[in-house]
Point group: C2
Chain length 115, copies 2
Amino acid sequence: METLATRFKALGDPTRLRLLALLRGGELCVCDLTAALELPQSTVSRHLALLKSAGWIRGRRGGVWTYYSLEDGPAASGADVLQGIGGMLAATPESSRDREVLEAYLKTKADGRCD
Amino acid sequence: METLATRFKALGDPTRLRLLALLRGGELCVCDLTAALELPQSTVSRHLALLKSAGWIRGRRGGVWTYYSLEDGPAASGADVLQGIGGMLAATPESSRDREVLEAYLKTKADGRCD
DNA sequence: ACAATATATCCGAATATTCGGATGAGTCAA
DNA sequence: TTGACTCATCCGAATATTCGGATATATTGT
């Protein structure tokens, strides 16, 4: 129960929902997410760590970058939940804007660097 | 998004999950829930108010009592979510114990009073 | 109107969460 | 090894949440 509460508590924050909404589109690194959300890197990293410890996402090191993606394994055990709220997430205006900012940023990033 | 976060934040507390688990069995009044959870009435009432304002449950006055039940109308819009986590809720040990305490209490309550 | 019961709200104290700048740790190329 | 870069963690200050006793409100029966 405590575990389940922790799980949902992680969803109880707009910034973290924005992150999840973006990750529904596929794997992204921290600097991508930082650019899309237009928030300090430390803030984004902290929220990602929390989502990971709550079992919603997973991170993998790829050289200098850390790529995060949705956790869909058995650990998610509430993949149905994410599936269920997926539509709600995508329907929000923040979600749309974040994705636009991300797309614009990804074009600038073609050379592989972060800024 | 803010709304959605508020929605989930309400689920991010063990006491509130215990309340939801009990209400899955049907409508109950505050004193029933207070007895089942073995917590102060003010605490239970506060959590119920929060769950209600988050759109998870609904309350109706029935004389001196206020009966709470799960919100399954369109306002719930995440009934799927509750449906999805229903199993998880029922599987916890707290949930089983709460229900036992409730059943034992309901027997004592046959006369209609609360203590 | 009054008393009894059930519920909601108020209150301060304790605890937890959040933020973002600063700093630490890890990785790679030169 | 040095420097550039990405990301994680530390830190104190601000804010939010939680608790339960006390109190207010509501409803019913007398």
